[in-house]
C-alpha cells in the first residue's frame, strides 16, 4: 500500500448524497480477476453518454477536474455493496482522499486498505469546502494525516477522526495483514481452547 502523509491538491466537487457503490462501479465491471484498470469505469453510467463518449455535464469530465486527487462528496458516500472494486476504481482514477460528512462502513474499511483516505468532516466544514471549490476550481486543499487536519481555504482549520491503527498503516504504507499474521500463536491457542 502506498504511504499517505500529506496531500495538497485541487478537488472535484460532487455534492450528490448516498452515492452507492453500484454508481461508483457498476456490477458489470466486477467480472475482473485483478484490481487494476478500473479507473476508466469509475462512475461509468454518469460519466459516459450512450455512444460511449464523455458526458460533458459530468463533473469528472470537466477540464478543471483533471489531475485532482481529492473528491468532495455528499453524505453517506459508498453505501450498498461491499465491492472493494469501488476504492480500486477511485484510486485508479487518481483520487487519494474523499471528503464527506459520512461514509458507509464497509466502503470506509475498504478505502483504508487501499491508501484512499476517508476524511469525515462536519456539515459546516463540508459546506465551506464545497462552496469554495465550486466557486474556484483551482482551490488547493491540504489533507494532513499526521495532524488529522484539513486546510486550504481562509479561516478553515478542520480536523477529522481516524483510528490509530489505520493511521499508522497509512503513514507507514504497510497493510494490515502483516499485523494479523503476527498473532499466529494466539490464534492457534484460541483454536485449541475451543475444540
Amino acid at each position: 500500500m502506498a504511504k499517505f502523509t500529506t496531500l495538497t491538491s485541487h478537488a472535484v466537487p460532487f455534492p450528490a448524497e448516498n452515492v452507492d457503490t453500484d454508481q461508483i462501479i457498476p456490477a458489470r465491471f466486477l467480472k475482473v480477476t485483478d484490481k487494476h484498470g478500473l479507473g476508466d469505469s469509475l462512475f461509468c453510467d454518469w460519466r459516459y453518454l450512450k455512444d460511449g463518449s464523455d458526458n460533458p455535464e459530468f463533473v469528472l469530465n470537466e477540464a478543471a477536474s483533471q489531475g485532482a486527487q481529492i473528491l468532495i462528496a455528499g453524505n453517506n458516500f459508498g453505501s450498498g455493496s461491499s465491492r472493494e472494486h469501488a476504492p480500486w476504481a477511485l484510486v485508479g482514477w487518481g483520487f487519494r482522499a474523499i471528503i464527506s460528512t459520512g461514509f458507509a462502513d464497509i466502503f470506509r474499511s475498504n478505502s483504508l486498505k487501499n491508501g484512499l483516505l476517508p476524511v469525515e468532516v462536519d456539515a459546516e466544514v463540508y459546506k465551506a469546502l464545497m462552496e469554495a471549490v465550486q466557486l474556484d476550481r483551482s482551490t488547493k486543499i491540504t489533507v494532513d494525516l499526521l495532524t488529522q487536519s484539513v486546510t486550504g481555504i481562509d479561516g478553515l482549520e478542520a480536523t477529522f477522526p481516524i483510528d490509530a491503527f489505520s493511521k499508522h498503516c497509512l503513514l507507514e504504507g504497510v497493510d494490515q495483514l502483516g499485523y494479523l499474521l503476527s498473532f499466529d500463536e494466539q490464534i492457534t491457542s484460541y483454536e485449541q481452547q475451543r475444540t
Binding site: P15, A16, E17, N18, D20, D22, Q23, P26, A27, R28, L30, K31, V32, T33, D34, K35, D45, G74, N75, N76, S79, G80, S81, S82, R83, E84, P87, G102, F103, A104, D105, I106, S109, N110, K113, N114, D163, A164, F165, D175, Q176, L177, Y179, L180, L181, F183, D184, Q186, I187, Y190, E191
Partner: protein, 469 residues
C-alpha cells in the same frame, strides 16, 4: 457480570487479542466465498506464499454471474467464464470445498449457508458480500467484508475489527394479512434511511420478529445493510432450533443437545443497554414499496409519493429530484396503477420456499398480464426441487412466468438477466439503485406478494386486493 447484549456475547466469545489503540483480532468461524469478490484475495495469498489457514471453515459457491436458463450451463461471457474458472482452480489449489455450477448443492451463498446448516447461532460469519447480514437471523454475527479482508480471513481465520455500536429495532404487534417480513425491513429503511444504521449492529426484537419463521427473519436481517448497518441479529429460539435440527452440517445426537443448551444463552440479558432503540408498530404496517433510487425511499403502497417540499434539507431535495428524474415519475402522485414491464421474484432476500409459496398463492389460477416478463428464480437447487415437488413450478409456468435455475440473477444483473433501459420492474430483491438491475432500468422493491400481484395486473398493485378476491 454486567448484563450484555446478544452482539456483545458473540463478540466477547471471539476476541483472540486486543492491544491498546489497535482493533480487536476477531476469530471467524465461517467464511463464505463466491466468484466475484475472491479472485484478488487468492492472488494475494499466492503472492505472499500463504495458505488458507482453515479450509474446513471456508466454503465456496458460484452464484453472481451464473446463468439461470434451464438446462443451459453456458456462461454469459468469457470474462464471467474466466472468473468461474478461477474460483474452481483456486478452491482446488487451496483445498476449499466448492459447490460449483451443476452441483446439486449449488445456490446463492446466503441461501445455501443456512440451508445446509453451516450457519449456526453464535458463529462469526463473513463473506465478500454485503448481504452476509442474512445469517444474523440465526443469532450469528455475520457481515460483509471487502476483498482485502477476504484475504485476511483466508490467511489467518481472523479479522481486525473495531466494536460496533448497538441499535435495537423493536417490532411489536402483529402483522396484518398481506404484510410480510419484507415490509418490516422496507419500513425500517424508510424510517431511518440508508445511512441510519451506519456504525451499528442491529438486534431485531419484539413480538412481530418472534412470530416470523426463519425465512422471514432472514429477509429482515438480509436488508440490515440497506439501513446502513453491517449486521443484523435475532436471538435464537425454538423456531431457530426447529429449522436447524437434522440439517447436514449441524451437530447431531448428544452434540445437538449440547449445542441447543449453549445457543439458548445467546440472548440479550435483562438490563443490557443498547446505544439506540427504534420502535416499529407491526399492527400499523402496510405493504411497502420503494419509489426512488435507494431503499430508504420507501412508502406504504397506497400513499402518495413525496414532493420536493417534503424535504427541508436542500441536498435531500436534490437527491429526491434526481431520483424522480431517473425513475420518470411525477412527485406527489400515487404509485398504484403505475405500469410495470418486468417482475423479478428471487435474490438472497426473497428466493426461499416460503417466498415462492407466497408468490404462487397469488399466481394460482391466474395469468400474468399481457406483455409482462416474469422471472421466478429459486435461491438454490434444494429450493427448486422442493418447489417442484409441491407443484409450484407448474403454477408459475401455467400463469406465464419463467421458472429459472438458481442464482443471483436480476438482483445484480451480471448474468444476462437484466432490465432494458427505461423498463420498470417490481422486484423482491434488495437494491433499487440506478442501473442495479440493468443500465437504465427502474426498480420498485417490494415483497413477493406485491411483486406477484404486479405480474398479474401489469401495474403496481396492493396485493391485498388479490388475496381477498
Amino acid at each position: 457480570m454486567e448484563p450484555r447484549t446478544l452482539f456483545q456475547k458473540v463478540w466477547d466469545d471471539h476476541v483472540v487479542a486486543q492491544e491498546p489503540d489497535r482493533p480487536a483480532v476477531l476469530y471467524i468461524d465461517l467464511q463464505l466465498i463466491h466468484e466475484v469478490t475472491s479472485p484478488q484475495a487468492f492472488t494475494g495469498l499466492r503472492e505472499r506464499g500463504l495458505k488458507v489457514r482453515r479450509p474446513d471453515k471456508t466454503i465456496a459457491t458460484m452464484d453472481h454471474s451464473t446463468p439461470t436458463l434451464p438446462k443451459a450451463l453456458w456462461v454469459i461471457d468469457d470474462q464471467a467464464k474466466a472468473q468461474l474458472g478461477q474460483l474452481e482452480s483456486n478452491c482446488k489449489e487451496f483445498g476449499v470445498e466448492l459447490f460449483a455450477l451443476g452441483d446439486s448443492r449449488n445456490g446463492i451463498v446466503h441461501v445455501i449457508g443456512p440451508e445446509r446448516g453451516f450457519t449456526q447461532p453464535g458463529k462469526t460469519i463473513v463473506c465478500g458480500d454485503s448481504h452476509t447480514s442474512t445469517h444474523g437471523a440465526f443469532g450469528a454475527l455475520a457481515f460483509g467484508i471487502g476483498t482485502s479482508e477476504v484475504e485476511h480471513v483466508l490467511a489467518t481465520q481472523c479479522l481486525l475489527q473495531r466494536k460496533a455500536k448497538t441499535l435495537e429495532v423493536r417490532v411489536d404487534g402483529q402483522l396484518m394479512p398481506g404484510v410480510t417480513a419484507k415490509d418490516i425491513i422496507l419500513a425500517l429503511c424508510g424510517e431511518i434511511g440508508t445511512g441510519g444504521g451506519t456504525g451499528y449492529v442491529i438486534e431485531f426484537t419484539g413480538s412481530a420478529i418472534r412470530s416470523l419463521d426463519m425465512e422471514g427473519r432472514m429477509t429482515v436481517c438480509n436488508m440490515s445493510i440497506e439501513a446502513g448497518a453491517r449486521a443484523g441479529m435475532i436471538a435464537p429460539d425454538e423456531t431457530t432450533f426447529e429449522y436447524l435440527k437434522g440439517r447436514e452440517r449441524v451437530p447431531q445426537g448428544a452434540d445437538w443437545d449440547a449445542a441447543v443448551e449453549r445457543w439458548s444463552q445467546l440472548r440479550t440479558d435483562e438490563g443490557a443497554v443498547f446505544d439506540k432503540t427504534v420502535v416499529i408498530d407491526a399492527n400499523k404496517l402496510e405493504p411497502m414499496i420503494t419509489y426512488g433510487t435507494n431503499p430508504g425511499m420507501a412508502m406504504q403502497i397506497g400513499e402518495l409519493m413525496p414532493t420536493a417540499d417534503s424535504f427541508d434539507d436542500t441536498s435531500q431535495r436534490a437527491a429526491f429530484e434526481k431520483a424522480m428524474g431517473y425513475m420518470g415519475l411525477q412527485p406527489g402522485q400515487r404509485l398504484l396503477g403505475q405500469k410495470v414491464d418486468v417482475v423479478f421474484i428471487g435474490s438472497c432476500t426473497n428466493s426461499r420456499i416460503g417466498d415462492l409459496r407466497m408468490a404462487a398463492g397469488v399466481f394460482s389460477g391466474r395469468k400474468v398480464a399481457d406483455g409482462m416478463r416474469t422471472l421466478v428464480v429459486p435461491g438454490s437447487h434444494d429450493i427448486k426441487k422442493q418447489a417442484e415437488a409441491e407443484g409450484l413450478d407448474r403454477i408459475f409456468k401455467e400463469a406465464g412466468a419463467e421458472w429459472r435455475e438458481p442464482g443471483c440473477s436480476m438482483c445484480i444483473a451480471m448474468n444476462g438477466d437484466n432490465l432494458e433501459p427505461g423498463q420498470y420492474a417490481v422486484s423482491t430483491s434488495n437494491r433499487n439503485f440506478e442501473g442495479r438491475q440493468g443500465k437504465g432500468g427502474r426498480t420498485f422493491l417490494a415483497s413477493p406478494l406485491t411483486a406477484a400481484a404486479a405480474a398479474i395486473t401489469g401495474e403496481v398493485t396492493d396485493p391485498r386486493s388479490l388475496l381477498l378476491s
